[in-house]
């Protein structure tokens, strides 16, 4: 609609003044060539200096000659797209197809290289920030030199395309910096200085683009009908025109920029190399560093999913997050004496009822009774727990302890000491405890009713899973229960995998059902929940627990030896020779979920249901980057296929083989063809959708005009449509025709039409155009 109005205003100006400033169409080809060349130089330097500056700053090795040549090719290819309209449209399509096809072919290598770069960068960041853990992206190809080069090629091509828009298209310094500076800033943020030559290159490009942008004589329009050298801009009070490109402007800009950049680099090279403290001096910098830490540790999704409110525990909430994001901040400080190599569990939450993807405490809370039981394994230990950042709703108690033995200092509820009876081996479970709780009817009902309850809609899934699990054949009931739990563990161990980023449970799907049937990967909450329900389905009372675990590895790595007297903290047998009281900081990455199995005559005992991690990646960053692409390729590509299709026919050069033709494009993999077809289908679908929406919008607007009796817009629509039809059929040749020109063309069209067809079109063009003029210009 706006374009129609513009045309009318333009024509009104012609009608009133009979004079407008026209357009120069005398651009010399040699000039256009040189301007494309100059812009290509800028794109090349910016692309090379930003990407290679990043790689060199982190000392990542790559094939430099290939990168230099390839980047030059990309840069000049894209800059010469602006040579004229035909080249612009034809070669942009070729570029898009080539980029997509090559990315489909080399996806695994490029992704691997991309992951390699990220891993190296994260490693440096982790070192810089002193982070406890490093996120490792999965590299499917081990040859980093190769993969990084391929990844850099794709990154370079993508950057060159963007830079071509910001430099050749708009000549905008801000946008150019926005595309290139983040690469260098990744290194600069942790004070890794790239070589001066890269900074010189970027300075040169930025300065040149500033000069060229403000000169107003750097652009070269190609999208119009003709290759205009002269740009017409209709302003509110005046008409503005500009000669678009001028070669000396480029030469001047390049000269000034080079001298200025060189002087700056020479003057500042020495001060730039001075060491800088990594400790931020202000709050904004500190906060930014915190965000960077989250990014390094947990990726982008770390900003969205958070367990921080529970200090690492979900309190039985399941499936709400796509991944576990520990912040590695200390939640508890635990002082105790290590007596064996077993993991120590500090239980905070007990879930008895499984309802709608969540664990809830029993309506009748037996925990106080359980916590007052007296255990005796021939030893006594003391534990000091300081809650620093853990969820204060829970007390974190070791097995087996009694709440009667908890002592709180007067000053704080977050610090307490507890006397507990650590279990040295499973044999201790044979020492039955004969107390009132075991014989209590309510408790019996709780154990054999509540702790055996499984939602009805889950039974089928659980039974199906249990068909794959061989139950224990032990006659001893307690032994049977423990061995059954181990059988479930083994099943998970062999068929499932551990990951901290399994993804969210879909809406209206059960957490355990989805885990068992679809996900088959997860973290502790998944395994503990599933094991609990599977055990219950087998008739074994079990429940879900959350808290913190202290593995022996944590004790070895982070424990601080205290001056306390060992004898005051522990008495009894032990499997470790060390006689020391240790203080262990426990961060939220040690927040954990496990299960408890009921042993007859004894009570609930802990059982580790979670299988170990085997270096499974939680590379959500790569999924974020390539999520769209992965969704399209839908796992149709794998490296084995890729490996066999590089040169599938090498050594067999005799005879004609149609596959050889496809080999040129590496198209003989059906999956690649399917992928490419899908991409094309998406774009064709998008185009169809665009035209459909456009058609509907016009129809709706026309309906509104008709309803409002808006003759002005209706006439403009009809007139524009008629003009477009006459132009399309070649009757109207002028760029800005007046109504009289359109009338003449329409008369001619009608005359030709009536000559050719028996059916005559009888239109009073004079009256029609008088009406048009009256409505449009009055």
């Amino acid at each position: 609609m706006i374009s129609w109005l513009d045309k009318i205003i333009y024509k009104k100006e012609i009608k009133d003044n009979k004079l407008i400033v026209g357009e120069v169409t005398q651009t010399k080809k040699s000039n256009r060539f040189l301007i494309c060349l100059f812009k290509g130089i800028l794109v090349y330097i910016a692309t090379y200096c930003s990407i290679c500056g990043l790689l060199d700053a982190f000392e990542i090795e790559y094939n430099r000659p290939i990168i230099i040549i390839a980047f030059a090719f990309f840069s000049f290819y894209v800059s010469f797209l602006y040579f004229n309209k035909l080249i612009f449209y034809a070669f942009y399509i070729i570029l898009f197809i080539a980029f997509t096809v090559e990315l489909a072919r080399y996806y695994m290598v490029a992704n691997s290289g991309f992951q390699a770069i990220i891993n190296i960068v994260f490693e440096e960041y982790s070192d810089y920030f002193g982070l406890a853990a490093i996120r490792e992206g999965l590299e499917t190809v081990t040859n980093r030199y190769f993969t990084v080069t391929v990844a850099a090629l794709f990154l370079g091509a993508f950057t060159a395309i963007l830079l071509n828009v910001t430099i050749s298209g708009y000549m905008n310094a801000f946008e150019t910096a926005l595309v290139t500076f983040p690469y260098i800033e990744i290194a600069l943020f942790i004070h890794k200085m790239p070589s001066a030559i890269y900074l010189l290159g970027l300075l040169f490009v930025y300065t040149s683009v500033v000069f060229l942008q403000l000169s107003r004589h750097s652009r070269m329009q190609v999208k119009g009908k003709r290759t205009h050298e002269f740009m017409r801009i209709k302003m509110r009070r005046e008409d503005r025109y500009a000669y678009q490109s001028d070669i000396p402007v480029f030469l001047y800009s390049f000269g000034y920029s080079f001298i200025i950049s060189l002087i700056i680099i020479l003057v500042l090279k020495a001060p730039l190399s001075l060491p800088i403290s990594p400790v931020p001096g202000n709050a904004i910098h500190k906060q930014t560093q915190e965000y960077v830490k989250i990014l390094v540790q947990s990726g982008f999704s770390g900003f969205f999913d958070s367990y921080s409110s529970t200090g690492g525990l979900s309190g039985g909430r399941l499936g709400g997050v796509s991944q576990v994001r520990p912040d590695f901040e200390t939640d508890l400080e635990v002082t105790f004496v290590p007596i064996n190599y077993e993991t120590i569990y500090l239980k905070g939450f007990t879930g008895s009822n499984y309802i709608s993807s969540g664990w809830y405490s029993s309506t009748t809370d037996f925990t106080p009774f359980e916590n007052t039981r007296e255990y005796d394994f021939g030893n006594t230990a003391k534990m000091h727990v300081e809650n620093i950042d853990a969820d204060t709703r829970f007390n974190y108690l070791p097995y087996f302890s009694s709440t009667d033995d908890i002592e709180y200092p007067e000053t704080s509820n977050n610090i307490y000491e507890i006397i507990y009876k650590p279990v040295l081996s499973e044999d201790d479970y044979n020492k039955k405890i004969d107390d009132s709780l075991i014989t209590d009817e309510d408790y019996y009902n709780y154990v054999y009713d509540t702790c055996l309850t499984v939602p009805d809609d889950l039974k089928e899934t659980l039974d199906e899973t249990l068909t794959n699990i061989t139950p224990s054949d032990s006659d001893d009931i307690n032994q049977y229960r423990l061995e059954s739990a181990k059988a479930i563990y083994n099943y998970f161990y062999n068929n499932f995998s551990y990951t901290m980023a399994p993804g969210r449970t879909p809406y209206r799907r059960d957490f355990v059902e989805y885990f068992l049937t679809h996900q088959q990967r997860g973290f502790c909450a998944h395994f503990a929940s599933a094991t609990t329900l599977l055990l219950r389905e087998m008739g074994i009372p079990a429940r879900y627990c959350e808290g913190y675990c202290i593995p022996i590895s944590l004790v070895y790595e982070n424990a601080i030896m205290t001056d306390d007297d060992y004898n005051e903290w522990y008495s009894g047998g032990k499997d470790i020779d060390l006689e020391a009281v240790l203080k262990v900081p426990v961060n939220d990455s040690y927040a954990h979920a496990w299960i408890e199995i009921y042993l007859d005559g004894y009570g609930f005992v802990p059982f580790e249901a979670t299988i170990p991690s085997f270096g499974e990646d939680d590379n959500d960053l790569s999924r974020f980057s390539f999520g769209f692409f992965s969704a399209i390729t839908a796992n149709t590509l794998n490296f084995e296929e890729f490996g066999t299709t590089i040169n599938p026919n090498s050594g067999n050069n005799s005879g004609f083989n149609i596959n050889k033709i496809f080999d040129i494009f590496n198209f003989n993999t059906a999956n690649v063809r399917v992928t490419v077809m899908r991409i094309f289908a998406i774009f064709i679908g998008a185009a169809v959708l665009y035209f459909l929406i456009r058609f509907l919008v016009i129809r709706i607007k026309l309906a509104v005009y008709r309803k409002n009796n808006d003759e002005y817009h209706l006439v403009i629509y009809e007139y524009s449509k008629l003009s477009a039809m006459l132009k399309r059929k070649g009757y109207l040749k002028k760029d800005n025709p007046l109504p009289m020109d359109v009338k003449e063309a329409y008369d001619l069209y009608l005359a030709n039409y009536n000559n050719r067809h028996k059916k005559q079109k009888d239109v009073d063009t004079k009256a029609l155009f008088e009406h048009y003029e009256k409505v449009m210009y009055s």
Binding site: D16, N17, L19, V24, R216, E238, D239, Y252, S261, I265
Partner: protein, 335 residues
């Protein structure tokens, strides 16, 4: 020297943002970019001060005249006495067709990077008339467009847009023998002469215009002048500057003039000024004369009447000639 406040604010804002980033994030490398922006200002200013007064400009039309449907164009040339050029200069001008006055201001940006260069200012004309362009001022900008210097000038140039020549048939037309404007048997416009061949007594049917009033008064009888049919007889083309039909009138006038001077006829064009009630004669023998006459024709004020020029000429002129009255597409011989 003036300052572009908006650009300056934007520039300072950019420096401020980058400085803030450098300070907050303790990034010495970003200082490079601040320094770059700071250095650009003095570089730009030094060049601007030394160069901005070294330019001279001239304006001229691309051709002496333009024939429909071609459009006129003007060439703006500059010469730079300094060794370094500037990137941007705004040329503020007005352009109009004298029949359709316009107040629209145009601003054209040109680079001044060479020792001398010329730029075309293309105009698209949609009607005949005298197309003129007046450059009011040049605004020179420094490299960063922060400072500007305005040079007020008054460069003018104009070019007539002539109509297309029309086929007006057999011209000059033959004069009908029996009619109110009757000439003798072989008379046609081309042979009309102002020389008197003989004086004879008045006969009924003679035109009043031919009466020799002086002699008639002396001899107390009516005598008429019999004109000699020689090629020296003058023809006067009297076009009407009627507002509604100016395009057709100009087209007819041009067509008549071209045919006449190609046939080497002796004729004059009488162009009337409705405000001063004065008229000017142009003897056209070549293209230069044609251009002069048409330019003068375009420069006259338009009016609503259809015979203003003819009536004024007939009543005030002592010239004896055949008058061809031109209005719109009508070309007729008048008494």
């Amino acid at each position: 020297m003036k300052v572009n406040i908006l650009t300056l604010i934007l520039y300072i804002f950019s420096i401020g943002i980058i400085s803030a980033l450098a300070l907050i994030y303790e990034q010495p490398a970003i200082v490079l970019f601040i320094l770059m922006l700071f250095i650009l200002i003095p570089v730009s200013l030094i060049v601007f001060f030394n160069v901005s007064d070294k330019f001279t400009f001239t304006l001229s039309p691309v051709s002496d005249y333009v024939e429909e449907p071609n459009s006129p164009a003007f060439v703006l040339e500059y010469k730079n006495a300094a060794p370094i050029g500037l990137f941007s200069c705004d040329v503020v001008f007005t352009a109009e067709n004298n029949f359709y006055p316009s107040m629209t201001k145009h601003k054209m940006s040109i680079p001044l990077t060479r020792k001398s260069n010329s730029f075309t200012i293309p105009l698209e004309s949609y009607d005949i008339g005298l197309v003129s362009i007046t450059i009011e001022k040049f605004i020179l900008h420094d490299y960063l467009s922060i400072f500007r210097k305005e040079i007020n000038v008054s460069l003018e140039s104009s070019v007539p847009v002539l109509p297309k020549e029309r086929n007006i048939g057999d011209f000059p037309p033959a004069v009908p023998k029996d009619g109110p404007d009757e000439f003798t048997e072989s008379e046609n416009i081309g042979n009309i002469s102002s020389d008197v061949k003989e004086i004879r007594e008045y006969r009924p049917g003679d035109r009043l215009q031919r009466i020799h009033w002086k002699l008639s008064a002396k001899l107390d009888d009516l005598f008429v002048k019999e004109m000699a049919h020689t090629s020296s007889l003058a023809i006067i083309l009297v076009p009407e500057l009627c507002r509604d039909e100016i395009h057709d009138t100009a087209e007819s006038l041009l067509s008549c003039i071209k045919i006449m001077y190609e046939k080497k006829e002796r004729f004059e064009v009488c162009i009337y000024n409705d405000i001063s009630c004065d008229y000017t004669f142009f003897t056209v023998t070549d293209e230069a004369g044609l251009l002069e006459a048409m330019t003068h024709f375009y420069c006259q004020p338009l009016y609503e009447g259809r015979e203003n020029a003819l009536n004024t000429y007939l009543h005030s002129s002592g010239k004896i000639a055949t008058v061809i009255h031109i209005i719109g597409k009508t070309i007729k011989i008048s008494e």
